[in-house]
Subunit: 80 residues, 2 copies
Amino acid sequence: MKAVVNVFLKEGVLDPQGKATSHALASLGFKGINEVRIGKQIVIDLDATSKEEAEKEVKEMSETLLANTVIEDYNIEIVE
Amino acid sequence: MKAVVNVFLKEGVLDPQGKATSHALASLGFKGINEVRIGKQIVIDLDATSKEEAEKEVKEMSETLLANTVIEDYNIEIVE
């Protein structure tokens, strides 16, 4: 089964990587960019007997390792 | 308008960050993990008059800056 975890900085948390990318795009001539924010997309291939089990397992992984829940939010999608 | 660009390593390209995460999860006691791969999720808030225009613009950004197309693939989703 495949799980996709998107980890992104919470609203209001400064994102220097996004800011740098935004500036770089502007200096390349791209116009009308209001904001760029950069997060992680983690794709996990795991053995699980059901979608529910996979989701529970991946939620635990996210809380303990994948996301820093002080400054980051995450969402989980089980794709197959 | 918001565009989400997912940038991920091509099949077969070694992903040391994913490997490290996979080992870390295993050492935390998570079982049945076959593979972990880590990509970037870039969310761009931009002014565009249409979905088509936004998609064209973001495709160009991806090709020139956001993705290294030698080793990375990407997909674009216009969300609103």
